[in-house]
Amino acid sequence: MSLAEMAARVPDGASVALGGSFLHRGPFAFVRELIRQRRRGLEIVKQSPGYDIDILCRAGCVARARAGIVAMEGNFGLAPWYRRAVETRQVELEEHACMTLTAGLRAAAYGVPFQPVGGVHGSDLAALNRWASVADPYGSGRDVWVIPAIRPDVAVIHVNEADELGDARVRGTSHWDRILTRAARQVFVVAEKLVPAASFEDCPELTLVPGFMVQAVCVAPRGAWPGSCWPHYEIDYPAVESYLDSGRHLDAHLERAPEAAERVRPDAAERVRPDAAEPARAEAGQPGRTEAAEPTEPVRAEAAAPVRAEAAEPTRPRTSEPVGA
């Protein structure tokens, strides 16, 4: 499957959970493909989004965000287009702590309607989100906050290696990818590299996501650009700087992306099954079905119509120090 075909499976209005954290191992090629396909009305679910939610807000793709902490990170400060989208109420924010969002995802993963979470006492976030607290039914006298289930339509993660069945593994920290892939109705895997299934058989305990849970897999080398994908490449700081330059059009950034430079492989199209472009439906988890992939035809070379729906340019905030975790 190509990146374009994978992105085509996400309909307007879908709830999309994105893997990685800030500028590290995010499914950024996939996010840019959503922009090229002019997706609208998305709900983005992620504990610590940054570049991904910012560029999606910049292109006008987002209606709603459920997030813990949003910033460009590195030394780049706030995410300017996200910030403006929330301040002007073009994007509705459900503000979480990273772990309250995770509690909601755990509820979905565990198949229960809500999930207790530690802490939260004294935070205005509880009243804001109308979270409930419950007394310990076993009589400890402690109250605990409970978060309603959060079930994204699809979780999209960028991984170091996958096989054709969708088995996927990462190097370094898995960030929040494990719980995202257990909570979402469908799982899409974008891999730096395709490896033989035998390589997963050799060390199955290192597999983060088993292929039977994965509905789509594709290959996008350097797909986490301009972020890092340990240990293959680091953050491309000049590219992030250039992205944040509001004097440059978003198209220039999209055209510079690694997936935009890939060439169509002649055999790629034939390997895609007939139903490959069927969009994901919210209710229809398709367990067990995986569209296998070769390093493929990423972005349709002829397509990629310039994205003109760019949001108004905010001035890049330089005033305040980034606020840490």
Partner: protein
């Protein structure tokens, strides 16, 4: 007047001084000064402590010092990857001794705002948001925060929004170190190149200064450790900290 002890060094050094032997200590995302403080403590102090970070690092030996405090290089030399759910769960079950958490505003009770400036629904500035605070601040044994500016818009009588409340133990600014005493932030020490009046003038809440004194200068080992972490001054320049507080826009 040239600064003898830069505000940047003041913050990193004093954050490091909160680190205690054998404790589990954590630094997170968007948290360059605490990342440097933990690495400084490893290099400058004779005791050991368990350093965890948001890149999954457990007692890491990073080959270089990244600009991003969540960079995967911070897990180099780790014998395990302790990912996000692991360190949050460790914290909520009481296993995190010292946790560094960010804040945009801090009040006299040691509560923090990282959500908005202005009304939440009509914010003047949309800040990063909840992050670790609402869960870690009430559950970590000690939480410490920092700001690179000491002013009445940051150290406030009244927060615009209470993102997190609970166990804040300390606050470090370019000119002062506060610790919580009897439920309120109290001044522990101040930058030797400013006066107690400067600290009071830049602080929006009342605080007890009983027993406070000028902060001890960096030891040669602390100074050398920070130099080794930031040999070309990149972090210091990025942080752009001054101990002379001008009102920023």
């Amino acid at each position: 007047m040239p600064e003898g002890w830069s505000g940047f060094s003041y913050i990193v050094t004093n954050l490091a001084r909160f680190v205690r032997p054998d404790e589990v200590t954590f630094s997170g995302v968007n948290s360059t000064p605490p990342m440097l403080a933990c690495l400084l403590a490893k290099r400058a102090y004779d005791f050991d402590f368990v350093y965890l970070n948001v890149a999954g690092g457990v007692q890491p030996r990073p080959s270089k010092i990244p600009l991003s405090s969540s960079d995967p290089v911070l897990a180099e030399g780790s014998t395990a990857i302790f990912a996000n759910e692991d360190f949050y769960d460790l914290c909520t079950r009481g296993g995190m001794d010292l946790c560094f958490l960010g804040a945009a505003q801090v009040d006299g009770l040691g509560r923090t705002n990282v959500s908005v400036i202005g009304d939440w629904r009509r914010p003047k500035v949309r800040l990063p948001g909840g992050g670790g605070g609402a869960v870690m601040l009430p559950t970590a044994r000690r939480a410490v925060t920092w700001r690179t500016e000491h002013s009445t818009r940051i150290l406030v009588e009244r927060l615009d929004f209470v993102t997190a409340a609970g166990g804040l133990h300390g606050v470090v600014t370019p000119i002062a170190v506060f610790v919580k005493r009897e439920g309120r932030l109290a001044l522990q020490s101040w930058h030797p190149e400013v006066s107690l009046d400067d600290v009071r003038g830049g602080t929006g809440f009342d605080f007890d200064a009983a027993g406070a004194a000028p902060t001890p200068l960096p030891t040669p080992r602390e100074a050398a450790a920070l130099r080794s972490l930031d040999p070309d001054g990149r972090f210091e320049r990025d942080a752009n900290v001054s101990i002379r507080q001008e009102s920023a826009p």
